[in-house]
């Protein structure tokens, strides 16, 4: 009899739906309550549930800390990238109307969709990073104590949470 059988099976059933719901909330922000922040947190909650049930190591193999750190930066760059794109198209910063020169309203729609996606990516990645850092702290300190020199870069980052 595997340990924690019931939570494991329920998690396996529910996590895909949680992630899907997160994406739903993300892209339906202009028709109902939703948007980037909420979606990011829901998405991260799905991943954290997986880490809680199946263990931090397996979660780390699925979503590597390096990937997550990259996503944190990527989301912010998507947001700012839209702003720079509108600058280059000749309008003010973040004037989404400029994105579609024939129909400003459609440009607004497109702009908001993209920036909310950037926000959702960053928020989800930050939440997952925070969880990895806190949950994996014991392991990190053991590893830091066991190596004399800390020349490993990339894997364990003591990033104390990033302000979004």
């Amino acid at each position: 009899m595997i340990e924690h059988l019931v939570p494991r099976i329920l998690a396996k059933l529910l996590i895909p739906f949680i992630l899907l719901f997160g994406l739903y909330v993300q892209f339906h922000g202009d028709f109902g309550p939703g948007g980037g922040f909420q979606a990011g947190v829901i998405f991260a909650a799905g991943i954290i549930l997986y880490a809680l049930i199946y263990g931090l190591d397996r979660a780390r193999r699925v979503i590597t800390p390096g990937l997550v750190a990259f996503l944190v930066a990527l989301g912010l760059l998507i947001y700012a990238g839209v702003g720079v794109a509108t600058l280059l198209l000749g309008a003010e910063f973040l004037n989404y109307g400029a994105l579609d020169s024939h129909d400003p309203v459609h440009g607004q729609h497109l702009g908001i969709l993209i920036i909310e996606f950037g926000v959702g990516t960053t928020v989800a990645a930050v939440m997952i990073t925070i969880f990895y850092q806190f949950a994996g702290r014991l392991q990190i300190t053991r590893e830091l104590e066991s190596d004399e020199t800390d020349d490993e870069d990339g894997e364990e980052e003591e990033m104390t949470g990033s302000p979004q």
């Binding site: 028709f31 109902g32 309550p33 948007g35 922040f37 928020v123 925070i130 850092q133 806190f134 702290r137 300190t141 003591e158 104390t160 949470g161 990033s162 302000p163 979004q164």
Partner: protein, 131 residues
Amino acid sequence: MMEWLGQFNYYVFAILMMAGIYVAMSRGNLVKKVVGLNIFQASVFLLYISSGKIWGGTAPILGDGLTQPISNPLPHVLILTAIVVGVATTSIGLALIVRIKEAYGTVEEDEIAEAEALYEEELIRAEEAEA
């Protein structure tokens, strides 16, 4: 009397605000301070959102034209930002607490003060040993 009931949210805001500040200032345990800050910030969210509600107003979503009065959406947006700021502050506070725990072995303020005094004495002793 009806006015008092209508302003109920604002009384709750005031009480929570003072409770949060009190916890943040008076409790010696660092985690409790962070919790107090959270309560304080939550009270501010209540203030903003209560101010945006209009009686008879529905959710501020633009369907096919405006048929009903809608509640003011701006406070909601402001509070989303403030909530994220609160989450970031809490996470940095907790990360600092984890590192303080590793450095000093405790999260109680008075014990940390003693440990810091010991650390400084050892630092001075180490420097004098060099001299």
